[in-house]
Symmetry: C2
């Protein structure tokens, strides 16, 4: 069967863009998640027409197709749970047009976030989503997950900056969604439905993106707190006060300790740090925002407050946050940082309570969890740090994920802020949004009746993430 | 049949909330569009449960249900083309919660835009969509049409500020969509799909809205142009320069003449006027934006430029735009201003060309058309002003609509910027977005298999809008 598949694919794309040697299949068999499953073949299309022909073929032959960007997704979005074709979109990486007279650009899905921003910078514009992985993350991947990133509190999520797109549907049809304008309301706004659909409804082959003027001034502040609760109250009050931060980040003591150990940044050993940033074209306006946020930090006993416009100094302050994930990986000998329970969104007023709860759940279940995230947007990130070699730790992790997301649902939050659901968040999400599953399934069926696009994800994911696929770690016993 | 229907409905809602006398049916048989068709009955639900029970009943009996807010829609959104039940949502008009610690509010769909903003004002926040009809427009209607309004250039469309909603589906099921957070990505983002779906996919019974801090300073400028083309270039360059106007409006000579005749504002008799506004918390920042926009106006030969922070003066400048529609209605004896070809969105760089084209098409087809709109967002509004009593004028209007929207499609625009498609824009939209119709129909079928929710609109609308319904004017011959 596989030989026939390869032979058929060779009629569509050139031989060097078809990979089926074991090493390649292994690489494409996992992403940043805990999951692993090998595809039958990896195809790297270069044109829209190739994608259309692949989809027509796969739809006729009922072969699963999993689109993939950088593979930095955290929950198994790109894991080929049933095998099939992984569609590596990274070769479709042209910036097709920067059209400032209409304040937009058009790109192929494989363009890397940082590359796009480098190209936009000389024009004085940028593309706002700023995931910590911007060095590798592709626009297609950001669309798939509705990435929001560090500046979402001011600039919104990917969805808010996507004006339109070309999508190849499951049956190979090419459709043009959206508009070339900042607003439009011309039929169901499918371009917004596609954003965040995790590759289950269509293959994005081109995107029209709204670009945003680069601010002339950026000022970054840092404040220390001896109580996590006070940091949380600060975040909620900053947002309720009408402040407009361009970044509002939280780091807990575990994150601080990890960063200090790894980077020798000399951050104070406190319960929590808040990073707050404002940006703008006029310094007086940035000052105004920064002073307002500083006052609120002080009101809630924030101390050691520093603020700086200087790019180098900002980088220094910011490095701890940007390198947090890498630092957590080296937090403790024998402990691995897994992308589990990695993402949620809660109302601003619940950030502190949720952070405390995460610590409590972690402690009770023999794992370590650091709390951080884009808390101005309500996004909380964590990781489960544990000895992945021990089978019982996976039982611990299962309990943690379940308890945490049950709690998040109870306080009016949602299972994912910006990483998506895929496999490892699916059981919790399905439980929380039970009312929506029939609607989601009806829409999936309407657009992909043969269920070939990234199957068994989201509403169709297995009910137990631990056994949904092989785990990509060597687990003993 | 009708008697049985009323009898059944009385089991669900109290008698005073069921209307079937001819006068009421007549009122609910038209909106701001040219269309007219009488419903069988008008029901005014007061609770979510009543809506659910009505939908369950209607779905079982295959009775069309048309949700309606203020009835200010322009294209026949609320016209009960097949009769059925008009669901007047205006009695569900409670502001349920203003929860600033999470920067949101929860409202029922019948809340009027201006009422919500009056309630938010003491807290220093507002709800950004600002249709010219804000005095009567309901939140539910704004969601149905994805209204964007005068400040969309800075604050986006309704869709951008809707965080979540409760929706009663065609089968009566109640679902909770979205989140209580600024960003989220937890399954298909159906709350965004619902916005702009014109009542064809579900009945919005509650909405969670992001609120935005009120600016401390607003400065409004006005510039005159002797050439429409230069006004258009100004708009495109303002946007491409990275300026952040909070309003960027165009009015052509026909609009100016109408306003002058009606309001004696003494506006100069020029080819075009641009209104430009900036807002912010700090005066220096607003000054910076205003000076930047002023320079661009001057570069393109704008003259007679005035700018003012003063609220009274701003109201004076702004009155012409706000009262434009009303003024157009009195432009010429025997000429009626119809809501046809009323709305489109084009790339910023095409605004001037499109405005010229509208005048050319109008002249060639014996009608009068004024061009105005939220041009910073690419939204262009017009009206067809004609003698509605003459049958041949409707043939003229048919040609105008067709020619204009063919042109809009050709230059990369879309059929509607913020008013929606419904009936009178549907033939043009269907022609332009032919590739999308199968997808739209599949989604409609997935959510409303019995086709009872506002049937025969959008993708299912008749192919000729002139004969789609009775016209609400007395046409001779």
């Amino acid at each position: 069967m596989k030989e026939a598949l390869i032979k058929d694919l060779k009629k569509i794309v050139s031989e060097e863009n078809i990979r089926d040697n074991p090493a390649d299949l292994y690489v494409y068999g996992s992403d940043a998640s805990v999951h692993e499953a090998l595809p039958w073949v990896v195809v790297r299309p270069k044109t829209i027409e190739e994608v259309q022909r692949i989809m027509r073929y796969a739809n006729a032959e009922l072969i699963p197709v999993i689109p993939r960007g950088a593979g930095s997704s955290t929950s198994g979005h790109t894991t080929p749970i049933d095998g099939g074709i992984v569609l590596d979109m990274k070769q479709m990486n042209r910036i097709l047009e920067i059209r400032l007279q209409d304040v937009l650009c058009r790109v192929e899905p494989g363009v890397v976030d940082d590359d796009l921003n480098r190209a936009l910078k000389p024009y004085g514009f940028f593309w706002p989503p700023a995931p910590a992985s911007s060095r590798i993350a592709t626009i297609g991947g950001e669309i798939g997950a509705n990435t929001s990133g560090l500046r979402s509190v001011k600039y919104g999520a990917t969805r808010d900056s996507v004006l339109g797109m070309k999508v190849v549907l499951a049956n190979g049809d090419l459709v043009n969604l959206g508009a070339n304008t900042r607003v439009s309301t011309a039929g169901y706004q499918l371009e917004k439905l596609m954003v965040g659909s995790e590759g289950t409804l269509g293959i994005v082959v081109e995107a029209t993106l709204k670009v945003v003027p680069l601010p002339k001034f950026r000022c970054l502040g840092i404040a220390n707190f001896n109580k996590l609760e006070e940091a949380g109250e600060t975040i909620s009050e900053i947002m309720a006060s009408g402040s407009s931060p361009s970044m509002l980040e939280l780091m807990d003591n575990i994150g601080i300790t990890a960063v200090n150990k790894n980077l020798s940044l000399g951050l104070p050993d406190v319960a929590a740090i808040i990073l707050f940033e404002a940006d703008g074209k006029v310094k007086e306006a940035v000052d105004y925002e920064m002073e307002g946020m500083k006052r609120i930090c002080e009101k809630h006993n924030g101390f050691g407050i520093q603020m700086s416009y200087d790019a180098k100094e900002r980088t220094r302050i910011y490095t701890g946050r940007k390198k947090l994930f890498a630092s957590l990986s080296r937090y403790k000998e024998g402990i691995i940082c897994t992308d589990l329970a990695d993402d949620m969104a809660v109302p601003n007023s619940k950030v502190a309570e949720c952070a405390e709860k995460i610590h409590e759940i972690a402690e009770r279940n023999n794992v370590i969890m650091s709390v951080y995230g884009h808390c101005g947007s309500g996004v909380i990130h964590t990781k489960i740090m544990m000895d992945v070699r021990k089978k019982e730790q996976w039982e611990d992790a299962r309990r943690v994920v379940e308890e945490l997301y049950d709690y998040v649902d109870k306080i009016g939050g949602v299972t994912s802020g910006e990483h998506g659901i895929a496999l490892s968040k699916a059981p919790s999400w399905k439980k929380a949004r039970n009312d929506l599953l029939p609607v989601m399934r009806a829409i999936k069926k309407a657009l992909d009746p043969n269920n070939i696009l990234n199957p068994h994800k989201l509403q169709d994911a297995p009910d137990d993430w631990v056994t949904a696929t092989k785990l990509r770690y060597l687990v003993r016993g």
